[in-house]
């Protein structure tokens, strides 16, 4: 029987106020993005996988090899784990050239100086950095430094690659280019890849699968499509820009925990707990009570307006607080401003209902 390829881990530890307990699988060849707010424990999880923070409980196995298991006293030190780590601020050694930075890992794994530098040169060339081989890190741009860091992590041929906020240190202009490049380079690597980010777009572009972490726990995991259609937490809903409400199914309506009812089209057993998610674009706004079509209608008041490109996000306070997204013309037509009364209409068929 072949051994399971990739990372299989349960990491449990406490560090200061963080109480982390996360189960995680990343198959060989898979890219998983760990998404979560600041302080959720994402970086700590990466450090634990790399052996830079010890587990209190759990187990880390990579391609079937146990790297850390407190229960059996198994512990492979960081320098002997086949894991590459791209740090958030790159941490390129400032006293070494780009070439020697990349050669560092190969030298540590016993490669001779000449061969290590030749291999490092090939890595830099592959990443389009041949011209910068002799440059020291402070002479590199953010995007170049990021690629050197990637080359340095990949050169010793790890079986798991960890990337901590790979795009966070870059300015907005270079970010797009680097993201596209990173996607390409990640595709070339055949091991397991785990990246940490707080940007949902980065996660969706770069990863096959998303894992949402909040307060040290996995709250949801799935493909980008899953999570954007069916967020399970307020944080997840905010990430994908959806309204999220929770309630109990009663016939064909959902009685919301925070008050109010919504008529829905989906069928769920009566009495079951459900999540309700609504795209802001599906929330219609009217100046007067609309007649006919929408099943769900109520009146509220505009709480806030925010411009997003050619659309405007409207927070509507009322019996059921929702966020609507309308065109800029609609804002003028409806005379929307903070405090203005407004009618809300949502079609039953526009509401996603799923088990909580």
């Amino acid at each position: 029987m072949s051994r399971p390829a990739g990372l299989d881990a349960r990491v449990a530890l406490t560090l200061g106020r963080l109480d982390l307990d996360v189960e995680l699988q990343v198959g060989a060849g898979e890219v998983v993005a760990l998404l979560g707010p600041n302080g959720a424990g994402k970086t700590t999880l990466l450090r634990a996988l790399a052996g830079l923070a010890p587990l209190a409980e759990g187990r880390v196995t990579l391609d079937g090899d146990v790297l850390d298991e407190p229960a059996t006293g198994t512990w492979v030190p960081t320098e002997r784990r086949p894991i590459g780590y791209v740090f958030q601020d790159h941490l390129l050694f400032p006293h070494l050239s780009a070439l020697d930075n990349v050669a560092f890992g190969l030298r540590c794994r016993g490669e001779r100086r000449r061969r290590a530098r030749r291999a490092a040169g090939e890595w830099l060339e592959r990443l389009g950095l041949a011209a910068h081989a002799r440059s020291h890190p402070r002479a590199l741009s953010g995007g170049q430094a990021q690629r050197v860091a990637l080359a340095r992590a990949l050169a010793p041929r790890p079986r798991l690659l960890l990337l901590d906020e790979p795009l966070a240190a870059l300015d907005a202009a270079t970010r797009l280019d680097v993201r596209a490049e990173l996607r390409r380079h990640l595709a070339d690597f055949d091991g397991a890849r785990l990246l940490v980010t707080h940007d949902p777009l980065d996660a969706m572009v770069l990863a096959d699968r998303l894992v949402l972490v909040e307060d040290g726990r996995v709250v949801q995991s799935g493909t980008a499509t899953d999570i954007s259609r069916r967020p399970r937490t307020a944080y997840g809903a905010r990430l994908v820009g959806r309204n999220l409400l929770a309630g109990r199914m009663v016939g064909t309506t959902v009685r919301l925990h925070d008050g109010g009812e919504l008529h829905v089209a989906g069928r769920h057993p009566s009495g079951s707990l459900v999540h309700v998610s609504i795209r802001p674009g599906s929330v219609a706004l009217f100046r007067t009570p609309p007649d006919g079509t929408p099943r769900n209608v109520w009146s509220g008041a505009v709480a806030a307006l925010e411009h997003r490109g050619d659309r405007v996000q409207v927070d509507v306070a009322g019996p059921i607080p929702v966020v609507a997204e309308v065109t800029t013309e609609a804002v003028a037509d409806l005379g929307l401003c903070e405090g203005a009364p407004v009618w809300v209409g949502i079609k039953a068929t526009e509401i996603d209902v799923y088990a909580a």
Binding site: R47, A50, G51, L52, P77, T78, E79, R80, R81, I83, G84, Y85, F87, L91, F93, P94, H95, F104, G105, C108, R109, R152, A153, P156
Partner: protein
């Protein structure tokens, strides 16, 4: 007002040197400096200070690393102990060394019976006394350098397969090199000027334990001109080192 006070401070520091220069027997200087006593004292001072600095670097840098990177019970105590010689009167340090490493001392007796080593009143004793008072200057400087650096560089090295020793040698050391240089200069300067601990522990034997400061002190009694000449040598050597290392040294301290 502030500028006036600053000027006063400069004058206060400069005045003794002016006094020294004004009393210098310039015409007789070459003859004074040519005396074997001077050359001996100077040679002994330079070499013993260099040896004390070398020992301090070899043991002090790892000590600074341990203090900066590892949290262990009693760390504050160890740190206080290491810096104690900075505030202690050197004579007290010398006396303590005598009780520990002297013929009748705790370790001294063992050293003599086991290895036939006698530290007090020997050139090696001079180096020991100087190391005792000068080591803290190196440790404190290097520890500050390590503390201001990012310990995650060592993490990065570990993820690339570097053992702790390799990471220390190839990453940590080069990154704190400026602090080590600065610390070594301070350490050397302190060792060069050492007087109290040396005279207490190693005595004042011409050619063996009589360093420049000791020679100056002795000469002040019976040969003022020689004392001034020796002092000038000490000032010149110190100044030369400061100027040579000015860039690194003043930039960091």
């Amino acid at each position: 007002m502030l500028v006036g006070l600053a000027g006063l401070a400069v004058a206060f520091v400069a005045l003794p040197f002016v006094g020294l220069l004004q009393r210098a027997p310039w015409s007789g200087l070459p003859a004074l400096l040519a005396r074997p006593l001077v050359a001996e004292a100077l040679g002994l001072s330079l070499s013993s200070a260099l040896a004390a600095t070398a020992i301090s670097v070899v043991v002090g840098v790892p000590l600074a690393w341990v203090l900066a990177r590892h949290d262990f019970p009693g760390r504050a105590l160890v740190r206080a102990l290491v810096t104690l010689p900075m505030v202690l009167p050197p004579v007290v340090g010398g006396a303590a060394l005598l009780f520990a490493l002297g013929r009748q001392g705790l370790v001294g007796r063992w050293l003599e019976t086991q290895f036939g080593i006698l530290l007090p009143f020997s050139t090696a004793g001079v180096v020991v006394a100087q190391t005792f008072v000068a080591l803290p200057f190196l440790v404190v400087t290097v520890e500050a350098g390590l503390a201001s650096g990012d310990p995650r560089y060592e993490d990065a090295a570990a993820t690339l397969g570097a053992s702790r020793w390799t990471a220390f040698r190839r990453v940590t050391l080069p990154l704190v090199a400026p602090s080590i240089v600065a610390g070594a200069v301070l350490c050397w300067a302190r060792a060069l000027g050492e007087f109290g601990a040396t005279i207490t522990f190693a005595g004042n034997l011409a050619g063996r334990t009589q360093t420049l400061p000791l020679a100056v002190f002795l000469a002040l009694e019976d040969d003022r001109d020689a004392a001034i000449a020796l002092s000038l040598v000490l000032v010149a050597v110190s100044l030369a080192v400061l100027v040579a290392l000015r860039g690194r040294w003043f930039a960091r301290l």
